[in-house]
Symmetry: D2
Subunit: 283 residues, 4 copies
């Protein structure tokens, strides 16, 4: 297994897609050397975008979090979240009525910005659902799991609705050793109980990569081929297989989910093969 | 589809296994005619046992519920629950240490009766788990889903434990139109997130049928062949396929999960074929 | 359920994506009225493309089949197959070595056109696999299932390779009442046995829709928004949910998989809701 | 991880259940020291039975294979196969009509011994299936996979039948490095394509353990508790979890599927914990 310098790898590309958690930050904050790497990319004229499975906050809020932690270079224009893909779906396909959601009010505000009414599942009256046009799973916080998950199942048993999972991750890390169940895990619980087929957005699904690709072409006002783009991530089953499937080169960094000693075994065991392996983005 | 009289069917057998919910009772209480049917079985000298996927209460509490609703004939000796199978497992395989559980204190008391310490997952200190010897999923009530489900995942990521699902049902009915997520549904959420293989007890698994069979032989002090037993239930995917697989005859009643108009389609669609179909046990 | 005239629906759009089997043709040949509908679209200036899950033949061969059956208007430029998406993947991600495949020689010729060596799995020497860079599942014909499926499992157990499923359909219709196992069904068998994560192309995955969208923009040399496009198909779980997820309007036709009497139940049961329902494309 | 002497472990029990492949034999023949171990058990008065997931041969044929390889002590009375459980099911539940099967003629002869007609799926006329009462999957050999697997799907789409999987193993070893797809793997392919729910026999399902337990009680004419029995196997996901769930002690041997260096990791990763670990049964 050949470990390479990230900066040497990055210089071969015009555009870099960066995963956030495990690549730029972790539970303790921004990873060492990330700001220097961002400056390096800016100096070299290499464009970059953050691709993150997150629907709990708007891109503005995500950018504010980077700024407040010392990386103001990652502005809202640099951020592409799975919540944006879910929002685009609602804009294109659900242009009226009330969208019921699991998540915080903050996560719902962002959905409202396409002109839809939203209603928390906790406030749904099961006898009065005529106006509902979709259900969206946004965040694992902001509701009572004991009551509202069962309520979500009953809504879907009574009313045929498209169900949008705005972040397909099953867990997210809380600390070095602990994880929390994410909204994608909740979706895996609700889907078989409701007998509906859910629509999942976020890596590894290719739609977020297409969105990012088209966004970059527009943003940079230049022609970009898939060969010009590198996806950088710490997770084989989201970042790397997603990038591979979309047809772009991929780089696994060992600063998050996967430790150096396990990388080769995991790559061989899954058949998910990155083009490069780097210790971190600061190398 | 030929609908038969339950009493005529029952007379062909020496022992009847009766599912509880949808057969003897529903959300409104005991179904009409059940006590008469029980008297009929007693008069005819046909033995009967209630086989129920329930680990939230002890057999004593289940019998008290029948007595308080007007059927004192269904005594504790007539009741076989999936919680009893889980308890037998703990007795045979886990004879020391602390068993951590999801469920109410009431459900845990029953587990304690084999001489094990129990600890609610809500009270677990993740830094102090040396003494743990098993995890048991007992009931969907008695804990905070927001915190304790994630805690269960983290316990299993740190400590290798056998996980016992004492009731594999995914949902249970609350009223005519509403269901609640049962502890088997919670198990389906936790199992992939913890990467462990869980042990599930309760219909359709054959262990509860074997337990009931051996229990009946001992209780009745007579020789019984599988051909002498009839399993009666309202659910194809638990009662009927479980009875079929165990090798006994099966009778679907239409007083619960399945309506008469859908029975033939569902039987054909699943390939789960009961020997008899009756409107209810009171016919 | 409101059944509409397809031509009235089509007039609202600039571009139509048409599924092939069950929409344009079936086991008996081209469906009645299809050529008239194609002429109607041409007369109205509505662009159309055929989106088909097929990797057994090249687009040229697919176009020849339409021409030989009386619809020369569906030229190779109108055809987008899942095999094209698989071919694009190989071009972008696998630029050297030997690609091993399940399928006919005919299906492999098309893969070779990007400059890769191909080798049928039946001809693989398990002691000599250094040069292999990918495995592609192309077609359910052209190999011996008794030997070559087991051989595919053994190749993947010995060598870490990306596995591309060029058509994710599990079955395809042979006649009114009979189906055949398709290469997507074979993939479902091989994936758990080899412990690898396969990459699947074809509807409902969004990559074929993106490919078609970008193809249409280039081909028509005009600006197209997702709101200008209609996906027409006979299958909820591929055509309709795929189109919905991509963010375009969808039209279910009742000339294939789904009969009129079942449409409402199936839509309600799955939560996959088309924008329109039409008897067939000739209405 | 504490590696113990098998003979020291065995002396604690009255009855030993032995897995066959990986414990008594492998692709090269009988493992070294097995006959001595068998004599040791006989000398010590410890009863033993072979529990094997095999439906391709009758117990008589399995015993002949042991005898011809130098272990005549393993007579037909010592052998309990998953095929025997399937046969008991057919005897109890399917007492007339024709049973269609996938497998060799040899495997079907054994089914015929309960008085049922059998018909290979290859010989089924899809227009003439009135007499069919069950489908049994017996062996991965004896039929043409290209034609007969698709034919099995079409039979099940046209006719509602119980489907019995007489061996739930997904693969079996052909040599040190190679596996073959077993009939349980074929069942995993056919089940979702036919939309039926199959009945699977063989470890880890508890029915074979119950059968063996009752068989031993009758055979030995003595009272046996579950605490008197040890299950010995080389596979966590069949032998060990199956024995654990049935409530008997379990012993993992490292002479088959699992190598010593991986045992601890695999036990921890799955939560399937044997009571003992031994290098082989000859220690």
């Amino acid at each position: 297994m050949d470990i390479q310098s990230f900066k040497e790898v990055a210089k071969k590309y015009k555009v870099i897609f960066l995963d956030s958690y495990g690549v730029l930050r972790n539970y303790q904050g921004i990873l060492p050397g990330v700001r220097d790497m961002i400056k390096f990319l800016d100096d070299e004229g290499i464009a970059y975008y953050v691709l993150t499975n997150d629907a709990s906050r708007s891109p503005i809020q995500l950018a504010e979090a980077f700024a407040s932690r010392g990386i103001p270079e990652i502005t809202v224009e640099k951020i592409i979240s799975s919540g944006m893909i879910a929002r685009e779906y609602l804009e294109n396909k659900v242009n009226s009525g009330t969208v019921v959601y699991l998540g915080t009010e903050r996560s719902a505000h962002y959905i409202e910005s396409v002109g839809l009414n939203t209603l928390s599942i906790s406030e749904v009256d099961l006898a009065n659902m005529d106006d509902f046009t979709a259900m969206v799973l946004l965040d694992d916080e902001g509701f009572d799991w004991n009551y509202d998950l069962t309520k979500a199942v009953n809504i879907l048993r009574k009313k045929s609705l498209p169900v949008i999972v705005a972040n397909s991750d099953e867990t997210y890390p809380l600390s070095k050793d602990h994880v929390s169940i994410a909204v994608g895990g909740i979706a895996d619980l609700l889907e078989p109980l409701s007998d509906k087929i859910f629509i999942r957005f976020g890596k590894p699904d290719s739609q977020i990569f297409h969105f990012a690709y088209e966004y970059a072409v527009t943003d940079l006002q230049m022609s970009i081929s898939k060969r010009d783009i590198l996806m950088v991530g710490d997770t084989l089953k989201t970042d790397i297989i997603g990038g591979n499937k979309f047809g772009i080169d991929t780089c696994l960094v060992l600063s998050g989910n996967i430790q150096a000693k396990n990388a080769e075994v995991l790559i061989s065991a899954t058949g998910i093969i990155p083009n490069y392996i780097c210790q971190s983005v600061s190398t």
